[in-house]
């Protein structure tokens, strides 16, 4: 016989794991975006320096 509280257990673990892995996924995405941004800014800074020297 299926326990009537099984759905509560399922939703508890589902919500818990979703929150943790959702957060992990969001910061991994953010890291990727920031890496790209930092790289672009480094290039921009280099260009400005070259223009300044010229």
């Amino acid at each position: 016989m299926v326990d009537p509280n099984l759905s509560w257990l399922f939703w508890g673990y589902a919500v818990g794991w979703l929150l943790i892995f959702g957060y992990l996924f969001s910061i991994a995405q953010k890291e990727r975006t920031l890496r790209k941004k930092v790289s672009e800014l480094q290039d921009a800074l280099e260009d400005r320096w070259k223009q300044k020297k010229a």
Binding site: D3, W8, L9, G12, E31, R35, Q42, A44, L45, K52
Partner: protein, 238 residues
């Protein structure tokens, strides 16, 4: 700006592997090995996720708070980055703890929430760390670290209140099962599963903390580079 250590993976491979294996073993212990608790039935298995999440949350509060104090003393931005990373995880693990608590309370107590001392102090803790994350981007850059450190230390001060709330007051929340007096205690299989759950959650928390700290460093680097690019543009236009 991207230093050599920033090019390496944020989480060492051995730690990632240990966390993955521990999670598998923990799931086995929860759903196959540990016997079903007699009074509450199957829903009691939420305990093995609910309590470890709270332990990870409290650890994050202390790590964030100590890093904030170190930042105030040494003014080293690396401590501010660590504090930010830890404080964000406080909110994540705190939400897991509260959500699981509500999903456990509904079938057992018949209600989702009640304003008893344990739940209210937990809510206050979440509220404080939520305020920290809202305040951080709004604070002036030059005082941001200091303002956030003060809020974070206030948050850390709420942790003993949450911990002691069901020891000092009569609460709807159950009395402590560990160190709660002569009637407290756990059957060995339940205790083993719980302690292994705490160990697993700590491994997972450290992994998340390392990734978030890396992101905090990158955010600082991006801010610094943006300012330098603008400074050069201003000099040229002048």
């Amino acid at each position: 700006m991207l230093r050599e250590f920033d090019e390496k993976p944020a989480i060492p491979l051995w730690l990632l592997a240990a966390a993955a294996v521990a999670m598998m073993v923990h799931l086995y212990l929860i759903f196959i090995w540990v016997p079903t608790e007699a009074t509450m039935g199957i829903v009691q298995r939420l305990f093995y996720f609910h309590v470890p999440a709270a332990v990870a949350q409290f650890t994050a509060c202390f790590v964030g708070g100590i890093a904030a104090i170190l930042y105030l003393v040494k003014r080293d931005p690396r401590y501010d980055d660590l504090s930010l990373a830890a404080n964000e995880t406080v909110l994540v693990f705190g939400l897991v703890n509260v959500c699981l608590g509500m999903l456990w309370a509904k079938p057992i107590w018949g209600i989702w929430w009640t304003w008893d001392p344990r739940l209210t102090s937990s809510f206050l803790l979440l509220f404080l760390y939520g305020a920290y994350l809202v305040l951080r981007p709004a604070a002036p850059v030059e005082h941001r670290g200091m303002i956030c450190a003060v809020v974070c230390i206030l948050g850390m001060a709420d942790v003993p209140l949450v911990y002691l709330s069901n020891r000092l007051f009569r609460t709807q929340h159950p009395a402590p099962v560990l160190g709660g007096g002569p009637d407290s205690g756990l059957a060995p299989p339940i205790a083993i599963t719980l302690f292994f759950g705490m160990f697993t959650m700590m491994l997972l928390w450290v992994c998340i903390l390392l990734v978030r700290r890396r992101v905090a460093r990158l955010e600082r680097a991006a801010e610094d580079l943006t300012r330098r690019v603008h400074e050069l543009e201003d000099v040229r236009s002048f």
